[in-house]
């Protein structure tokens, strides 16, 4: 039941949840299951975060397990790492993905390396839950998608779900994982609704989900860009072009094979991701596809990321910086020789 499609095929009873509800449910289930799990961050308790994702969690688990911290990202991230090394399973809430910059030493030099540096003696079962995504008019320091940073670092795992089903199953897996996991939610998707099984489930890392099957072009998209890709696929369908939309769901571990196989099948691929385009996730995924499917490609693998500028405030400018269904559609059309 690693995908919603499978769960539906198995006839699991379901209900509709928002992504925020799915995240909260995953946290609550894991906190009930394992007393060493706790949530720590700025305004996570009574406030339930500015996005209200954690609303109500403190009522069940109290302030000793849903812990408000000072505005002190390096500090509470470090405490999370130390706690994880000594028997706890912290879920560290980094309100905005942009603030990952403040926690870099904890994430990169400490959490990611403790196990290796100690020859396998230490484990750091910590989750950094944070956000990504622009177009909320939050300007340059609250809009970035920096998931490529942790993706770059050996020792870290990186998760970026876009549906309630994926968000819940992957967060539960992240909490149970004995490695540091950085878990990104797109701020624009918190109210996205989707079906979630009534029964408990987890989703293994490193298994891509084919969000839509197709034959003519592969659109590999991450997080909210999955919806952009699906929008483009709708438009392409009107031209008789069948697009396959693949959501890797985790950038590490990464399901390379599904992407490569799809590109082999369609001979064309576009990678769409909301991180900055240069040196970005798109570069890595495109290179993997180009490498693995080279002799099956009929066009260069194209990348579409966020424009290489700090995210501007003005809506008139900000909307230009991220891929849209229209720009993906145009690119796909061009690759298919229909421009």
């Amino acid at each position: 039941m690693s995908t919603l499609k499978e769960a539906i095929a198995q006839g699991k009873p379901m209900r509709e949840l928002t992504m925020a509800q799915a995240v909260r449910e995953a946290l609550a289930e894991e906190m009930r299951r394992d007393p060493t799990v706790f949530v720590m961050g700025e305004d996570v308790a009574e406030a339930g975060t500015p996005f209200k994702v954690l609303l109500g969690l403190v009522d069940e688990f109290g302030t000793s397990r849903v812990i408000d911290t000072p505005i002190s990202e390096p500090g509470f991230a470090a405490i999370g790492v130390g706690a994880a090394m000594t028997g706890m399973r912290p879920v560290i809430d980094i309100m905005f993905g942009d603030f990952l910059t403040l926690t870099m030493d904890q994430m990169v030099n400490q959490a990611a390396k403790a196990r290796y540096m100690s020859g396998g003696k230490f484990s750091v079962p910590i989750v950094f839950r944070t956000t990504m995504g622009a177009t909320r008019r939050s300007a340059a320091q609250h809009s970035q998608s920096l998931h490529v940073w942790p993706s770059h670092v050996p020792g870290l795992k990186v998760v970026m779900p876009c549906t309630p089903y994926d968000a819940k199953g992957l967060l539960k897996t992240a909490i149970r994982d004995n490695n540091p996991v950085v878990y990104f939610e797109d701020k624009m998707n918190f109210t996205t609704k989707g079906m979630v099984p009534d029964e408990e489930y987890t989703i293994p890392f490193g298994v891509a989900d084919i969000k839509r099957a197709g034959t003519d072009i592969t659109l590999v998209a991450t997080s909210s860009m999955v919806y952009v890709a699906l929008g483009a696929a709708d438009k392409l369908k009107e031209l008789g072009i069948s697009a396959e939309v693949i959501d890797p769901r985790t950038t590490f571990p990464l399901d390379k094979q599904t992407m490569i196989d799809s590109a082999k099948k369609t001979s064309r691929a576009i990678v769409i991701d909301e991180g900055y385009e240069r040196y970005g996730v798109t570069a890595e995924l495109a290179s993997i596809i180009a490498d693995g499917a080279f002799y099956y490609l009929d066009a260069p693998v194209k990348r579409m990321g966020a424009m290489d500028v700090p995210i501007p405030f003005s809506p008139a400018l900000e909307d230009l910086t991220v891929p849209t269904a229209e720009t993906v559609f145009q690119m796909a059309k061009m690759l298919c020789g229909r421009a």
Partner: protein
Amino acid sequence: MATNVIMPALGVAQETGKLLQWMKSEGEAVKKGEILMVVETDKTTVEIEADASGILSNVTLGVGQEVPVGQVIALILAPGEAARPRQAALPTGRGEIEATERGKSEPSATGVAASPLARRIAEENNVDLSLVKPAGEKIEKADVLAYLESLKQRSNARLAPASPKARVAAGEHDIDVATIKGSGIEGAVIYGDILSAVAARAPRQAAPPAGRGEAASPTGSADDTETVKVGTIWRIMAERTTQSWTSVPHFYLTREVNAGRLMTWRERAQKRSPAKITYTDLIVRLAAAALLQHPRVNARWQDGAVHLNHDVNIGLAVAIEDGLVVPVIHQAQSLSIVEIAARRAEVVGRAQAGKLKPADIAGGTFTISNLGMYGVDSFNAIVNPPQAAILAVGRIVQRVTPVDDRPAVQHMMTLTLSCDHRAVDGARGAQFLQALAEMIEEPLGLLD
């Protein structure tokens, strides 16, 4: 000096050859000109003569094995020459292994027969002569120049924009991407372009023949048919006609011609010739002349383009017990009737004796099939790829036809031209047929 025995390239499109039989065993003495081995090509089975006298040695190819053409499969050792160490033999040292490997894979350039001019051109252009395939016995200037040209084309092919997928497909179908107009980004050749190119020409590789599958299927006892075992020639005929029929877009042009003058011509020619002159000989002569005027019919469709052949090499469909073979009368355009007749007698004789040489069947550019002697009025022949057309010739028969508004009895003959529509269109085929018909009806203009 040992002589390499290679798997010969015997056809325009032949890539591999299969060894059917060694006529000499390893260590046995062989004389130059003796039959050394029997090889199966994509066209037929041929007996290959020894190029040199000596002892057959270093045989690396077993019966039934298939290798790329040009590959060395044995050596003929000069008298007194020691056998070269085999790869499998225990080497005494590393240097020896390397020497052996080198000796096998890179025959020294000085050992290649080449004209002094060819050698000089090769030297000036840094060409390894062992890589040049001579058209004749030894490498001439033209061979080296052709090799240099092919290198240029190859590098152009690398520069031609094409998608990786298209390149793979082009390789599989032996298509030069540089000859194809691309429909991809920046004019790149993409997979679809290759598919179109393949669809528009006869594939040069025989598809797995249906015949083989049938032969392999068990014939149940309840089956009241009798299974006839077919030979290699029959099997190849089956494969090639299937391949042509399923992949070459055929069309047919039929025309009745008055054969009266042709009959007169034959009688006159016969008087001047000690050997027998047949109608086929005359038609070969006339067809060669017509083909010179209509080169598009003396052509082949290949790599997405029409390639015109300079020479007119006319193949004759010859029925033998084992099936159909097509020996070729080369450069028919420059042969007299007597020469054509002599050549025809020679190759047909060899065909019927099952002794065709590789050169006898190679290089055909047009084929004539004459079933007149079997009383056939007319028929549609199957194009012989990669040729563009085949002429089916029916019997000469008396017909009542109107002449000057009055019925007259005349000797008529029906010609049917089968064309590969990728190389020849209806109008061009018709023009050729008209030219040929006019020549048959008034052959004296050509008389030599």
